[in-house]
C-alpha cells in the first residue's frame, strides 16, 4: 500500500508491456534481417522421436487452443459473455479450457523431462532454452492454477483483462481493472510480458515463420538464375 507498491505496479503493468513489445518488434525484425539463418524451430525430433510425440503434440495442440481462447476473449469480449450466459455453456467452455491447459502442461513437462534425461537432446539444449522452459512452465502452471482457484476466467477475462489490454493498445494504460487481482493472476500477466520480451531471442521465432503460403502454392518449386524472380515460381 505503499508508494513502493504503486511504482512496482506501474512498472509491471504499464511500463513493462511497452518495453516487452518494443524488444519483441525490434529484435525479431533485426534477427530476421541480419540472422535469417537462425530462424528455425530447431526441432530435435531427429535425435529422439518417441517422447517427442508425447511432449510436442499435446503441448502444441493445448497451447494453440488456450491462446486462441485468450485471443477470442480479447477480440470479442461481449461475444464470450453472451456465450457464457448459460451456465452449462460456461462450464463446458471452462472445462475445455482446463483440459487444453492440462494437456499443455503434460506436454511441456514431458518435453522438459526429455531434455533432462536424454543426453543427445541435452547436447542441443541451450541456456536460452532452459530460460524459455522456465517461463513457459510458470505461465502454463500459473494459468492452470488461475483457472482452478479463481474461476470463471473466461468471463472475468472478458470483463477485466480485455479492457486492460485494450488500454495498452490505445496507449492509455489503465490497470485499475487488474490491480487488485490475486497474486497468481498478476504473475500470469507479468510472466506473459516477460515471455514476449524474451521471444526474439529464443526458438519461439518459429511461430512467426509459420509456412502459410504452402497451402496455396504449386507443389513443385523451380528457381531460375537466368530469369527474374517473379518468373521463378511454380513448376
Amino acid at each position: 500500500m505503499t508508494n513502493a507498491q504503486f511504482y512496482l505496479d506501474d512498472l509491471l503493468f504499464a511500463v513493462l508491456p511497452y518495453v516487452s513489445f518494443s524488444l519483441f518488434f525490434i529484435f525479431t525484425i533485426h534477427r530476421y534481417v541480419r540472422r535469417t539463418f537462425s530462424y528455425s524451430s530447431l526441432s530435435s525430433q531427429f535425435l529422439e522421436n518417441q517422447y517427442h510425440f508425447w511432449g510436442l503434440v499435446p503441448f502444441h495442440y493445448g497451447i494453440l487452443a488456450v491462446v486462441s481462447g485468450h485471443i477470442i476473449g480479447f477480440l470479442i469480449p461481449q461475444g464470450v459473455l453472451l456465450f457464457n450466459s448459460q451456465p452449462l455453456r460456461l462450464y463446458v467452455l471452462e472445462v475445455s479450457g482446463l483440459i487444453f491447459g492440462l494437456m499443455t502442461l503434460v506436454g511441456l513437462m514431458s518435453a522438459i523431462s526429455r531434455r533432462l534425461t536424454n543426453s543427445k537432446i541435452r547436447e542441443v539444449t541451450s541456456w536460452t532454452d532452459w530460460i524459455l522452459f522456465g517461463l513457459l512452465f510458470v505461465q502454463v502452471a500459473g494459468g492452470i492454477s488461475v483457472a482452478l482457484f479463481h474461476p470463471w476466467g473466461s468471463s472475468w477475462f472478458a470483463a477485466s483483462a480485455t479492457p486492460y489490454l485494450w488500454s495498452l493498445i490505445k496507449f492509455k494504460p489503465d490497470y485499475t481493472y487488474i490491480a487488485a487481482m490475486p497474486f497468481m493472476v498478476k504473475l500470469h500477466i507479468v510472466n506473459a510480458w516477460l515471455l514476449i520480451a524474451f521471444f526474439p531471442f529464443t526458438r519461439l521465432v518459429h511461430i512467426l515463420v509459420i509456412p502459410n503460403t504452402y497451402l496455396w502454392r504449386k507443389p513443385q518449386v523451380v528457381r531460375w538464375y537466368s530469369r527474374p524472380a517473379s518468373a521463378g515460381k511454380g513448376a
Binding site: 537462425s38 528455425s40 504452402y214 513443385q220 518449386v221 528457381r223
Partner: protein, 496 residues
Amino acid sequence: MNVRSQVAMVFHLDKCIGCHTCSIACKNIWTDRKGTEYMWWNNVETKPGCGYPAKWEDQEKFSGGWEMPDGRLRLKSTGKGRIVFNIFHNPHMPSMDDYYEPWTYDYQHLFNAPEGEDQPTAVPISMVTGELINIESGPNWDDDLSGSPVYAENDPNLAGLSEEQRRQLVAIERLVFFYFPRICNHCLNPACVASCPSGALYKRGEDGIVLLDQKRCRAWRACIAACPYKKVFFNWFTGKSEKCILCFPRVETGQAPACFHSCVGRIRYLGVLLYDAERVEAAARSSQEDLIEAHRSLILDPNDPEVMAQARANGIHDSVIESARKSPVYKFVKVWKMALPPHIEFRTLPMLFYVPPMAPVMAVKEGDAVDHVSGELFHDIDESRVPMKFLANLLGGGHEAKVRYALRKQKAVRWYRRAVTVGDVDMPTAERMLREADSSIEEAEAIYRLTSLCTFEDRFVIPPAHREQAIEMLQDPMERKESAGFGFLSGPTRGL
C-alpha cells in the same frame, strides 16, 4: 512442349567394385561438419541388404514418395492439409537411431592413460554427446552381406520372390551380392520439394539440380519423411535440412562432382538430358506398368530440330544443347535403354539411372559335383544367381521385362566382343544374339566403347553453366564492387 535441361546421371552397376571411394570423397568435402557426421550424401549399399537408413525402401514404414489413392498424385507422408496437423511431430520421420549414431575413438586416452597393467585402448565415443557408446550400427553395417540373417534377408526387394529364390540368394557357395551406390536422384517430380512447407527446397531451372535454401529452412522436417530415397538429411546441430548438391560449384566450373570424379570403377556418367516439363506430372501419374516408358518419353531427342528450336525458345543456350547431343546419359537411357531408374514406383521420376549388373554364372549341380561353369558360354540371363524378380523390384518397377531387356543387350555385347577378341564364338552367333537383344554391331561397338574404353571426357559431358549471363540479368556486377561479398556474413550455427 516446355523444354528444360537437366544434368542427369547413370551408374553402371556392372562396373561397381564397392570401394566406397565416392562416399569418402563426398564426406571429406561436404559432411565433415558438426551435425552432419552421420550423413552420407553418397553411400554404397550391398544388395541384398537393408541399406542406410535400414529398410529405407519399405515405404509402408517410411511413407516416402508419392501415392495415387484415387487417381490423384499425393505425397505418402504429409502434403498440403495433412502438414497442418503434423507439423509439431512428423509421424513419418525416422530418427538417428534408424541411421546410426556417429562415433569416433578416444585416441587421447592412448597418450594420457595412467600407467597400469593393461595396454590402454581407444574406446568409442559418440560424436553427438561425447559419451562412451556401444556401437550398434554404422554407415555400412551390412556391407558385403555382413549380418545377412538380419539385413540381407530383410531387403524389401525380396518381395515376390519364392522361398527357393530367397534361400538361393543366401546359401553358402551360391550367395551373391552386388553394390548399389546412391546419391540424391535430383528427381523431376521431387517429393522433398513438394513437401517443404517453407518452400526452401527447389529445383534449379537451368540444370535441374535440387537444392535446399538453408536460410528458408525452418526445420519442419517434412522433406526427410517425403524423400523415398531418404536422401534429405537433418542436421541436428544447425536445425536445418541438408542434401546432396551434386557438387554444383564444381559442375558450374566444368568439373565432375567429387563422387563422380573419384570413382575408381569409372561407373559414373554425367550429361545433359532435355525433357518436356509440361508432361512431368502426367508421367508421374501413369499406371505402374507404364511408368518407366512414360518417364523415358519425357526425355527429348536433342537432335530433333523441333526440340532444338523449342529449347532455344526456352532460353537454353546452344552450348547446353550441344552437350545434350553428346550426353552419355542420353545414350544409356534413351537410345540403348540399358539404364533404368531406381524404384520408379515411388513416382518421383529420378534422374539418376542404373545399368543393372550382370550376375555371376549360376553353378550347375550334377549329383554331388558342383560345376561353376554353365553349359553355355554365357548362361541365360534368367538363370543368373540374382533372381530377375529382385532386380525388377529394384530397377524395373516390379516388371522383369525392362531389366531383362537391359541385361540381354549387355550379354549380347559380351558375345560380340568375345567373337571379336577371343574367337571362340563365331560372328554369326554373336550377330544373332545382338539381333535377339534388339541391337546391332554398330550399337554394340558404341556400348563397348562407352562402357570399357571411356575417358573422362566421354563420361562427363558437363554443360557450361553460363552463370555470367544469369548474373548480368539479375544485377549489375559493379554493384558488388568494394563490398563485403556474397553469402553468409556469419557462419551457420544453431539458433542465435
